[in-house]
């Protein structure tokens, strides 16, 4: 019996992989599979007229029928295998459990890396593509600590918060999952190609699109449902009302995921959304990493690096003390502390190398 079932599953799997070459949405695939019933094979697919049932357009249908061939599928599969791209479908046993809960879970996932990460406790880190210094600093800090405690960080490899999340996680030695809104051949943004490679080696790179697929306006919101679906909680560190993060938030609410949000200044455009969802009670406010980790029943990572602030020179101590009240510009520091500028620059470098302070864009200096 079980052998029979697995054969049936294999055939279904083949059909799903075959159909994924034609960029069909998961709802279309679902309709097709419904139509075919229990025994879904490529051969059976050919016998049905999906155009008449208004499931497929005539052009798509004829394109699929033209290519409905074992050989086409085999070359496609061997091609993927050569490149180290693996496939998991809904018909497989190792399909991520969390995604099965979704009403519109993807039928197929292309992936590189360790798929088992998808079943581990995880936190999505999402937000604006252009975070402020405040957003950058706190995203990094919280991600480092959460990842250090063993939570998998899920994000979308985009500019801004996404890539900060991935990088901070990798730096803290944590595991991270990147969900792409495009195929593996057209990584967007192209600058993050090397980051994607690193994630494929140390974590997991996932896409529901065939490798040749290019990113479009519509692929990113659909991608966001997988980000929300793969994670147990969603941390929004900074986002305005116009941000695409709003989709991720909506999916997370639909799927019943915990939402965490970093509060920002009331007049900060970059924190409009985050402040708003805290106010409405959609998200719980996060001021330190333990706010998130409590829900995971975890403690802050042991690896947490508390910088040793001893053995500093007099001037360096003055600078550190002054920075405790927040980020300052260089002019503010030199004027209020009365340190000569050449001495000051030397202090900055040593403090920076020791990891006590950091330089931010716009000429700001802040404590790490």
């Amino acid at each position: 019996m079980s052998e029979k079932k697995s054969k049936r599953d294999d055939e279904k799997r083949d059909l799903i992989i075959f159909l994924s070459q034609f960029d069909l949405s998961s709802s279309k695939i679902e309709q097709i599979l419904d139509k075919l019933g229990e025994k879904a094979t490529i051969e059976k697919f050919k016998k049905f007229n999906f155009v008449k049932d208004k499931i497929l357009t005539s052009t798509t249908y004829s394109k699929i029928i033209e290519n409905a061939d074992e050989v086409v599928l085999k070359t496609y599969l061997s091609n993927l295998e050569n490149r180290g791209i693996k496939i998991v479908t809904k018909a497989d046993e190792n399909y991520p459990k969390k995604l099965l809960e979704l009403p519109d879970s993807p039928y197929i996932l292309y992936y590189m890396g360790d798929l088992s990460l998808a079943d581990e406790p995880s936190l999505a880190v999402v937000g604006t593509r252009k975070p402020t210094n405040y957003g950058k600093l706190n995203t990094e800090k919280i991600v480092r600590e959460v990842a250090g405690a063993g939570v998998v960080i899920v994000s979308g490899l985009a500019y801004g918060v996404d890539s900060i999340g991935h990088r901070a996680c990798l730096e803290a030695g944590g595991k991270t999952i990147a969900v792409l809104g495009c195929g593996f051949d057209n990584i967007y943004p192209a600058e993050h190609t090397s980051l994607a490679k690193e994630i494929a080696q140390k974590g997991l790179l996932i896409s529901e699109y065939r490798p040749k697929m290019k990113a479009t306006k519509y692929t990113f919101p659909t991608r966001n449902r997988i980000i929300a679906g793969l994670s147990d909680g969603v941390f929004i560190s900074e986002a305005g009302f116009k941000s695409g993060t709003i989709h991720t938030k909506d999916f997370a609410l639909d799927y019943g995921r915990n939402i965490y949000s970093l509060p920002g200044n009331v007049d900060s455009i970059a924190s409009e959304l985050t402040n708003d969802i805290i106010k409405r009670g959609h998200a719980s406010m996060v001021t330190r990493s333990s706010d998130i980790l409590e829900d995971y029943h975890l403690e802050e990572g042991v690896e947490q690096t508390k910088m040793a602030i001893d053995g500093l020179s007099e001037d360096e101590e003055k600078i550190v003390e002054y920075l405790k009240s927040g980020a300052k510009t260089i002019d503010q520091l030199t004027e209020n502390l009365e340190i000569s500028i050449n001495n000051f620059n030397t202090c900055l470098t040593t403090l920076e190398i020791r990891g006590i302070i950091r330089r931010m864009s716009g000429g700001y200096i802040s404590l790490n």
């Binding site: 470098t349 040593t350 190398i353 864009s361 000429g363």
Partner: protein, 510 residues
């Protein structure tokens, strides 16, 4: 009748002797100039004819042929009017022109017979002196320019009549009195003073280091943060031009026709700030009559490129050779000219197209792709040649209104001068004169680090993720900082400061 007088032509910043041969023979009245003359020279026929007539001389109604030898070099400009007129007049015995063979004539004639100033007198005289020419007759207006060259006799003439009277012996002219460079120097404009710039300590310090070591510098900051003002103050802390440097700069300015004839010499370091719409040729020099470009006019001075990424990529990339070698080679189909271009580059830019990226109180409207594209305009090889990058912040109202006395340029200049003296001593015998121009072996020799320094640099590379190209830049800047303090060895603190001037090498920028 045949006569020959000497004149001089210019090719790049060097000259070559030109013989103006004239033959006046019987035949139908005709005037012909041969010897690869350009349009300006061809048109000199009319100027010479009218100048001779209006000066009450007889213009020969004969067949006149002029040859400008060497015949195979293309000659340009209006400076042959005077020698041609003198040559024609001396063919006629009635005029009794007994010109001495070894005079070199240059000058443009106007219809009324007066002599007008010409471009490039200084390089012409310097080059002619080298070849042994001793006596010159030049336009009176160019006389000041000639007064800085010793060992030659230069006479300034105001008109054709005066020239002929002088040659006949009717009028006596005195050769120009040599002028002391030191006396002219004090008339030079020094630009703006740093005491007018409030705040901006970091930028001022960086500019001081750039001036002391001849380092190129890039300022990054939002619009209105005072980048241009800082740059304009920069020449006021540069060491004074030496006489030799001044002569070299004057040569170029003289050829370009940009010389102040009252002073006759460029006495202060030039400050050039071409607009970002400038064409590549206007920057590098060249064109059909091979003029020096902006980068050569900035020789021994400052080339300020405001809104650096707005220049065309092509223009920016052409700066590579001059930044490395201090010269620009302009090759055209009929000539290859080498112009000096030994300048300090001061560039400024916004952090993104809208200028507000990283600002605390204004929102940046640029997309991440736009920002990346904007920064990508500065290619690796160009960034490689800029030693110091700094961020310039907006000045607050309080800083603007504060009464604190800022350090004046004169005080900063004293420190810069001392640091330069140390460098001149260090590089005596070598052909560079400042730390920024050290080659690899000199860097190894003069920028030795102690153990602590090595450790610091290694940590800096690991922790701050500096790119490899920053290594030598940091060492050179550290050398200059040590020189400013009068230290013989590079200490930790010098190195630490030098590292802080490499903001663009950092990852955080993206």
């Amino acid at each position: 009748m045949y006569s020959k007088v000497y004149s001089y032509g210019l090719k790049g910043i060097d000259g070559y002797p030109v013989e103006v041969e004239t033959d006046v023979s019987n035949g139908l009245p005709h005037f012909e100039i041969v010897g690869l003359a350009d349009t300006a020279i061809k048109e000199s026929k009319e100027r010479v004819k009218n100048a001779i007539r209006n000066s009450a001389f007889t213009y020969p109604v004969k067949k006149i042929t002029i040859n400008l030898a060497p015949a195979d070099v293309k000659k340009e400009g209006a400076l042959y009017d005077l020698p041609i007129a003198v040559a024609i007049l001396s063919c006629d015995e009635e005029n009794e022109v007994k010109h001495e063979k070894d005079y070199v004539y240059v000058g443009e004639l106007s219809f009324d017979g007066s002599v007008k100033k010409v471009k490039g007198i200084l390089p012409l005289l310097i080059s002619a002196r080298k070849l042994g020419y001793k006596k010159f007759i030049i336009p009176y207006e160019n006389l000041q320019e000639a007064s800085f060259i010793s060992g030659i006799e230069v006479y300034g003439v105001k008109s054709l009549i005066q020239t002929i009277a002088f040659l006949r012996g009717d009028e006596e002219l005195m050769p120009v009195e040599p002028c002391k460079f030191e006396e002219v120097k004090k008339f030079g404009q020094m630009g703006m003073d740093f005491c007018n710039v409030k705040g901006q300590k970091m930028a001022k310090r960086a500019l001081e280091i750039a001036a002391a070591g001849g380092h190129n510098l890039l300022m990054i900051g939002p619009p209105g943060s005072g980048k241009s003002m800082l740059a304009k103050c920069f020449p006021s802390i540069l060491p004074d031009l030496t006489f030799d440097e001044a002569l070299e700069v004057t040569k170029i300015h003289s050829i370009a026709g940009e010389l102040d004839q009252k002073l006759g010499i460029v006495s202060t370091r030039p400050f050039r700030s071409p607009h970002h719409t400038a064409s590549t040729v206007s920057l590098t020099g060249g064109g059909s009559n091979s003029k020096p470009g902006e980068i050569s006019l900035a020789d021994h001075g400052v080339l300020f490129l405001d809104e650096f990424p707005e220049y065309t990529r092509h223009s920016i990339e052409t700066l590579r050779q001059p930044l490395e070698d201090g010269v620009i080679t302009v090759a055209r189909s009929n000539a290859t000219v080498v112009y000096p271009a030994n300048f300090t580059l001061i560039a400024s830019m916004n952090p993104c197209p809208c200028g507000n990226y990283g600002s605390k109180d204004r929102e940046c409207r640029c997309s991440p792709t736009q920002i990346t594209k904007y920064l990508a305009k500065l290619s690796g090889p160009i960034m490689d040649r800029i030693d110091i990058h700094i961020e310039v912040e907006n000045v607050t109202y309080d800083q603007l209104k504060s009464d604190t006395l800022e350090e004046s340029s004169a005080e900063i200049k004293k420190r810069v001068d001392r640091a330069r003296e140390i460098q001149i001593e260090r590089f005596s015998g070598a052909n560079n004169f400042c730390n920024a121009k050290m080659n690899a072996s000199q860097t190894r020799k003069f920028c030795k680090l102690d153990r602590a320094g090595e450790v610091l640099l290694r940590q800096a590379f690991d922790r701050l993720k500096l790119s490899a190209r920053a290594h030598d830049r940091i060492l050179k800047v550290a050398r200059t900082i040590a020189d400013l303090e009068g230290c013989e060895t590079i200490q930790m603190k010098h190195l630490g400061e030098a590292i802080s001037y490499r903001t663009l090498d950092r990852k955080y920028w993206h």
